[in-house]
Amino acid sequence: MIEVKDVHFTYPTGVEALKGVSLSIRNGEFVAIMGQNGAGKTTLVKQFNGLLKPTKGEVLVDGVSTRDISIAQLARKVGFVFQNPDHQLFSETVEEEIAFALRNFGFKENTLKRRVTWALNLLGLTEYRKTSPFMLSGGERKRVALASVLAWNPKVIILDEPTIGQDHRQKEILRQFIVQMNAQGKTVVIVTHDVEFVAECSPRVVLMAQGQIVADGDAKRILTDPDITLRAAIVPPQITQIFLGLTDLGLPTNVIDVSEATKVLLEYLEGGKR
């Protein structure tokens, strides 16, 4: 459980990135943090694993303030996958890359081996076990980065912009993967601009603008509210835009999902025939 209590954060450069943010994320929740560039999304999630400490207010992870515990201890609970895998890959083989964090956390050698094999398998990287991470494609590198964090099985997993630079197929695989992890009881927090991706996952959405939370609720409610999306400078999903333009037909406006849209439209058309 992560509790953010009236957190303010100012960077050393003087930029005030968070201006009084309060938020509570329960165990097993799936949360998408959205908002414009510079809204404070990444700054907020960096508070969750202690990379940044609040200038004012406090962040509690399982009841312990992030000020009272080291980043390494927090990281054991809260895994953070950075946006750019190139910022973390350095080992000679994919296997070593995944083992790095496990060594830092002091896993025993045989547990470590088992974990690495498990993580490789989970993300379909087994064939690259002995390959240098630098030889892999962008999407594969991203998967290695993800595997290297999942390997120690943190309770909470934070993904910063997981969909950037991924093609449609990769995104779909990622989506299923996230949903599956969440179904198995992991708390998942994603930071993203990708409205369509969020619409398909349908998590709880926390919308930020200028260092504050402007809306918090389920994806369906937030992404279909024209006022809220306008305030956070977010464009509703394409399917919602279509439905917002069809209000004169008496169709619902709170549709974010393509399969749901198909159902609603079919019902309407068949109803029209009768």
Binding site: F82, N84, Q88, L89, F90, N104
Partner: protein, 263 residues
């Protein structure tokens, strides 16, 4: 990484910012020579204090202080090393100076160097710098390489910070272990940093080629640097500084700080 903060230029106008970069460089050079000429603490103290008016006139005191704070690690290192060696082999330090004072002087000398370079970079835009180099007939290839290097220092610093965060999030503890282990701790930070710097430079080269870099042999500039009254004033100040430094060095017997302090 905060030491790099002190080298990040911000666009403002001040009597220091508006000086010709060539003249400012002369001033930095004089400071550099003066600092290297002396290892007496009182003189270095004077050199250190001498630059503070420049910082205040330029209005960059905050960034300047930050760069000094960033340099503190190396300063402490120099201090401790000189102190240890001063005690181990007192013959390496000038007679009559206590090892403590000598170590202070060495650390302060480094601080004076950082200070003057920091003032230079904080008040000189990279564009001006390249203009100055070009007008000094440095081939454009070198000028470009130099300005690009300067331009990318803050970018790299920022990247290093991100990489550090990413590795800390994977349980890396930089301050853990003995001396050798601590150095080894930096491998997971240096490798991604170097790899991405190389990758970036290749991309930059491609971007330059695609924009026709080097297409015309003769380049002209929109702006041309011209010396103004203030520039000549700074030249005169620099020369006075240099001459007096040489004079003091060869003709004035210098006291140590311990001699100056009241008994």
């Amino acid at each position: 990484m905060s030491v790099f903060e002190g080298f990040r230029f911000r666009h403002v106008s001040s009597p220091i910012h508006n000086r010709d970069p060539r003249v400012k460089f002369l001033y930095v050079l004089v400071m550099f020579i003066a600092a290297v000429m002396f290892n007496e603490l009182p003189v270095l103290l004077v050199l250190f204090l001498l630059q503070i008016p420049f910082v205040l006139v330029a209005g960059v005191q905050r960034q300047w202080l930050r760069s000094l704070r960033g340099a503190m690690f190396l300063v402490t290192f120099l201090f401790v090393f000189n102190l240890i060696f001063g005690y181990i082999s007192p013959s390496t330090i000038p007679g009559g100076v206590s090892p403590l004072e000598y170590a202070f002087a060495m650390a302060l000398r480094f601080l004076v160097l950082v200070e003057s370079f920091s003032v230079f970079f904080l008040t000189t835009s990279p564009d001006h710098l390249s203009l100055a180099l070009e007008q000094s007939r440095v081939p454009y290839e070198f000028t470009f390489a130099f300005t690009t290097a300067v331009r990318f220092v803050p970018v790299l610093a920022e990247e290093a910070q991100t990489i550090m965060d990413a590795q800390k999030a994977r349980g890396l503890e930089l301050e853990k272990g003995n001396f050798m282990k601590r150095i080894r701790n930096y491998i997971p930070i240096l490798i991604p940093l170097i790899v991405s710097a190389i990758r970036r430079s290749l991309e930059l080269a491609e971007a330059m080629e695609s924009r026709g870099w080097g297409a015309s042999k003769k380049r002209t500039n929109l702006y041309v640097l011209k010396m103004k009254a203030g520039d000549f004033m700074l030249i005169v100040i620099s020369i006075i500084l240099l001459v007096s430094a040489i004079y003091v060095r060869y003709f004035v017997p210098l006291p140590t700080l311990t001699m100056l302090l009241p008994k």
